[in-house]
Symmetry: C2
Subunit: 393 residues, 2 copies
């Protein structure tokens, strides 16, 4: 293999493919069809905004991965992937968004041409970019194959990060720190929310410490006032107002590696219930972080967090964290581990999470969150952003 | 219905639902499960970055639409949709990204509870947000229903824009004009590409003419030098260089309505082949625009464009345009009409397209594109951005 990816040495890609093949063998999978753009990038180096048309990376029983996608995007693949040119295969543009035919017909043909048509084939059944029509077309085109569900198989191989990956996340951490500094510096009553979002983007993409910023897999979530009672509303031009809270769920990103972090800003003097909620959340974060160490389980963090929160009279029904790393829209989570009761995954060094203990109150939200790295002995918070409710009176 | 959506009068939503029901009847569909976030927004007003978990809008045989999604996002739905509270239904957070169970189980239950379990149900089989697993789970949960493919059914209802929609696109046009002005003003040899992207975002989200900028469904595509031989690579920190071209495929966005437009910038004196390509593309655009009028077909524009281009010795294998309007990531196209041979869709007033005659040469790309509105008598270009190769010597 020769690499043209600027992001990792070839050996790291080789190791990833090897690790993935080992997981395939355990599940009896001979050929893996990888549609998740994050998984495609992690395995092959491919990096382009082309996931709105059908594409995949194939991991066969041996040899290099194969990139398959729209012919015009094969040009971008040739410029970013580790594989030789003959393992980059484009399909004709007439297949794009054409109800008369489906791109997966050409993938079925490719699989048969490579001699893989009668294998046991894993597909990512619950991925955004593997639609029901894609699956039905592939099944119809491969009558001799046995298709099975491999959702999350590659995602799980990504759980423990390499040192280079951690380095990229540390750079992303510097970026999100700067973004929060910018927010506290600029936000004030009367400012249009979109004008602050413009500044957030500018800071995020300029980067920090000399490291450039990449696009986040989720846009800045910046609701203010009553909109902050809901978690995922985006901005418009209504202004920040005195005596209201706003939360900022944002991520620094470097080379597609994410370091998300949220903070909440109160413009004015926060009422006692915000201070109570802040106190409860901070105590609960401490309790959770104490459980964040190798050998413990994901649920240990959630249980400790929830117990501490409940003691202060607050409650959170949703998970309070998830695995993070390399991501493409629409989600910066890895969709494997969650901090919630029943997730028995063992924590291991170099796993990375967004510890995300958000509360949505009846008149606003409180998000104070920490991206974390499991170390050999415990946990490290990626960011040095002050852990508190930000207040500008 | 009472509306809490700030974007359109309630009557417009009612009209959209009525128009959609008429299309359902024609196809014998009693209940439509709408997973495409753009279609969900168009029908119900829902606007949030929550499409990374399973969600849908249901259009039953009568009554209001029903919003269904993650419980925490029901809070955002209550703040944005036209429907009464009882028609916003959330599912438990333990269903989120949990391999043990699938959110679609709760949708099947909801459909049966509403008495729709034995109907003919349309689903958007080839949508990003309707995964193979979602479909298989829904099919298993609705043994008495007959599911059929309704991909594109709502998208087609969106093809002819209302006057309010056109107004939003005009505002987006002002925004993208400002973005291109900023690019020409700021780009220079030695500037890191990400620093220019930061400025592009800042301008796009600040907005123009007093109208705020929303996030684009595709990030700015800004390849430079040899990377511009490929269509969809995103930025890093390598600098712009003298005697290289860069293209900028960007969109102004207002209230989720997109006005995409691309331009190409050459830093230095462009070689003759760029000037030749520019001349060919400009002539071909004129030829295409002449065919852009009510009563003509989509393919008429493509055929005229290609004939003019070929006469100058250039060739383009991919489609040269597509329908645009309301969009969420990962695509700002409507995924209905394309400007290509064989697309016999009749052009009608208030249809809107991105006429997208991009060429990718062996050492760079040339994108000079026009967002257009079909009028009663012909065509209007949304933008006044000068139509030429931008050159900074």
């Amino acid at each position: 293999m020769t690499t043209s990816s600027p992001n990792f040495p070839t050996e790291e890609y080789n190791f990833r493919v090897t690790r993935t093949r080992r997981a395939m063998e355990k599940k009896g999978i001979d050929l893996l069809v990888v549609s998740d753009p994050s998984n495609m990038a992690w395995l092959s180096g491919y990096d382009g905004w082309s996931f709105y048309t059908h594409q995949a990376v194939l991991i066969g029983p041996e040899g290099e991965p194969v990139w398959w996608g729209r012919a015009m995007d094969a040009l971008g693949a040739l410029r970013t992937v580790t594989m030789a040119d003959e393992n980059v295969v484009g399909y004709d543009d007439t297949y794009v968004q054409n109800p008369e035919k489906h791109p997966m017909e050409t993938l079925a043909t490719l699989i048969k041409e490579r001699g893989w048509g009668a294998l046991r084939i894993g597909v990512e059944l619950d991925n955004y970019y593997y639609s029901a029509a894609a699956h039905l077309t592939l099944v119809a085109g491969l009558p001799d194959a046995r298709l099975c569900d491999a959702t999350g198989l590659v995602n799980w191989q990504r759980a423990v990060k390499s040192d280079v990956e951690v380095t990229y996340m540390r750079r992303a951490a510097r970026i999100v720190e700067q973004m929060h500094l910018k927010i506290v510096d600029r936000a004030e009553p009367g400012m249009r929310v979109n004008d602050l979002v413009a500044d957030i983007y500018h800071t995020g993409i300029t980067g920090a410490d000399g490291y450039w910023g990449d696009y986040p897999a989720i846009v800045p979530i910046t609701p203010t006032g009553l909109d902050a009672t809901a978690p995922h509303l985006t901005w418009d031009d209504r202004p920040f107002r005195k005596n209201e809270s706003s939360f900022f769920e944002i991520a620094g990103v470097h080379r597609r590696y994410h370091c998300p972090q949220s903070r909440t800003l109160f413009l004015g003097r926060p009422p006692q219930k915000y201070l109570d909620a802040e106190k409860a959340v901070l105590e609960a974060i401490d309790a959770g972080l104490e459980q964040a160490k190798p050998g413990n389980r994901c649920e240990d963090i959630a249980n400790a967090f929830n117990a501490a929160l409940n003691k202060r009279g607050f409650q959170k029904d949703s998970r309070c964290g998830y695995s993070i790393g390399l991501s493409y829209p629409p989600d910066w989570g890895e969709r494997t581990m969650s901090f919630r009761r029943g997730d028995m995954t063992e924590l291991r060094p170099n796993m990375t999470f967004h510890f995300m203990p958000a509360l949505w109150l009846d008149d606003g939200g409180l998000e104070i969150t920490e991206p974390i790295l499991i170390t050999e002995t415990g946990v490290e918070c990626f960011c040095e952003t002050p852990r508190r409710l930000f207040v500008k009176e």
